[in-house]
């Protein structure tokens, strides 16, 4: 707590600073319109001083685990499918992650993240602000409905900008059509039925990862994200390896 008290002749101000675990600080200073003071508190007797929040953050880092993704499909303006996850971290001068909550971690920071091209973060934004306030860093999702390479950058006041990272959105095919269900008398729209679809590599037991199934109440559906890359990942994921099993 900081309190001030004017002297009787209004020539001085008495500053009093109190903080748990520290000796109270009291000092008179001349009464001026504004001044900048640096005050050092002395730890209280018999108490361990609580270390002030370490602010070892010197810069930012962007991490993209999978920098290649099929283009996303926008079924509705506000909802995309697929996307690329980007992790925003605070780092110290040696490049070590110092997100808030890690040992010796920094205070939370607000970071501005930008992307080039036609790619967008959630809510159709090409620039977004995120708060890095937990030990895992902050994860944001990037979408693009155009096959292109885009660059993601990040900055925050007082911190070195993150090294930009590239993300490649690649062309993907899709499957579409109409799903109808038997309601006891006829084939109709699947109004109250949950329907799901899984895509497999032809002739195998391998599901294709990262595809998206969208269906409206009329039964019109689209399966998007069908790229060779996804088939490759599917086969690698179960350790069978190689490409000989592709159709």
């Amino acid at each position: 707590m900081i309190s001030t008290l004017a002297s009787p002749n209004h020539q001085h101000l008495l500053y009093r600073v109190e903080k748990e675990g520290f000796e109270p600080f009291e000092q008179e200073y001349p009464f001026v319109n504004s001044q900048f003071l640096t005050i050092t508190l002395t730890p209280g007797e018999g108490t361990e001083p609580t270390p002030p929040p370490s602010d070892t953050a010197a810069g930012l880092r962007l991490t993209v685990c999978d920098p290649e993704s099929p283009v996303s499909q926008s079924e509705y303006d506000y909802m995309y499918t697929g996307g690329v996850y980007i992790i925003v971290d605070l780092i110290d001068a040696n490049g070590r992650i110092v997100n808030p909550g890690t040992e010796g971690g920094a205070a939370k920071r607000t970071v501005t993240v930008n992307v080039t091209g036609s790619a967008q973060f959630e809510y159709d934004a090409q620039s977004t602000e995120v708060q890095v306030d937990n030990p895992s860093g902050e994860t944001i999702t990037l979408y693009d409905s155009v096959a292109e390479e885009v660059t993601v950058s990040a900055s925050a006041p007082g911190l070195t900008d993150a090294a930009p990272v590239s993300v490649q959105f690649i062309s993907a095919g899709s499957i579409s059509g109409l799903i109808q269900i038997w309601d006891g008398e006829d084939y109709t729209a699947p109004l109250f039925t949950t329907v799901d679809a899984t895509v497999y590599v032809a002739g195998t037991l391998e599901p294709v990862f990262d595809v998206q199934f969208l269906m409206d109440t009329s039964g019109e559906y689209t399966i998007t994200g069908l790229a060779f890359r996804n088939i490759r990942r599917s086969i690698q994921a179960d350790g069978t390896g190689g490409f000989s099993r592709l159709p």
Partner: protein, 284 residues
């Protein structure tokens, strides 16, 4: 001043009879939504799983008009049963899932799973014996061989039916399969947790309750992107010294433990954790 006479209201014509509104079909139970439809009489129709083979897709084009009619499943088996606790205690599960995994599949299209989720509701959760009574039923299951797996959650821990039960179903068969549920042995990840910055050499340490039978553990270390960095399997102790490649001080690592009793009858379950006990760490 005399008020003006109001004109007579014209006769209101008889309103035409409102035709009877047909009964709205019952909305199916939440847990029955998947793959079922409901007739106008409220009867449940069990829908087929349809396989559409040989679809050719070329990016960036759309392969259109792949239309699918999900017809009724017929002449399938009826599988039902109860969930009971191995220790004879009253069943106190709040949620359970029974899954029949097809064992005959040669291709993904034939790889069918039939799922039944069971939720216990109750106004007074202290009166557990009746409220938590759990049974399940799966209808029109195509003939074949299936592995029946079940997981359940009580308010305190999780249960499984171990390695599962293998059953063979004939067309139209009625089959009772009661599931014996065993409590998972709680495994607590002790160290390193909560994002410490550690210096190699170090060990992974976890614990189980004192009266736990002999267990076999597998420990895994993964990097920030989920890639496996190191693993050690078939451990019998609750500590594993890290012996993998040099770790980077520029990232965050996670670790986890899979376990089961030596007789393979019971599995271990890692206790829930939040940020404060997350099995994640950094390197000095």
């Amino acid at each position: 001043m005399e008020p003006a006479d109001f004109p007579d209201f014209p006769d209101i014509p008889d309103f035409p009879d409102i035709p009877d509104i047909p009964d709205f079909p019952d909305i199916p139970d939440f847990t029955d939504l998947f793959g079922n439809s409901t007739t106008s009489d409220g009867d449940t129709v069990y829908l087929q799983t349809v396989c559409v083979p040989g679809i050719s897709v070329t990016a960036p084009r759309d392969t259109a008009n792949v239309n699918v009619d999900l017809g009724p499943r017929e002449n399938g088996a009826h599988v039902y049963g109860s969930l009971v606790r191995e220790d004879g205690e009253p069943v106190d599960f709040v949620f359970a899932t029974v899954v029949l995994y097809s064992q005959d599949a040669q291709t993904g299209c034939e790889q069918m799973e039939w799922i039944k989720s069971i939720i216990s509701f109750g106004d007074d959760l202290s009166e557990v014996e009746d409220l938590y009574s759990m049974s399940y039923e799966l209808n029109q299951i195509p003939a074949g061989t299936y592995l029946v797996r079940c997981t359940a959650l009580s308010e305190e821990t999780q249960f499984t039916n171990g390695a599962g039960e293998l059953i063979t179903l004939a067309p139209g068969e009625d089959k009772e399969v009661n599931l014996i549920m065993k409590a998972a042995i709680p495994v607590t990840l002790e160290s390193p947790v909560d994002y410490p910055r550690i210096s190699p050499p170090f060990s992974f340490v976890w614990s189980v309750p004192e009266d736990t039978p002999s267990m076999v553990y597998d420990v895994f270390l993964i990097d920030r992107c989920g890639e496996m960095v190191w693993s050690q399997t078939d451990l019998t102790g609750t500590e594993a010294a890290y012996t993998g490649p040099a770790l980077s001080n520029q990232t965050i690592y996670s670790w986890y433990v899979l376990s089961q009793t030596e007789d393979e009858e019971n599995t271990g379950g890692v206790m829930n954790f939040g940020y404060s006990e997350a099995p994640e760490f950094l390197v000095e």
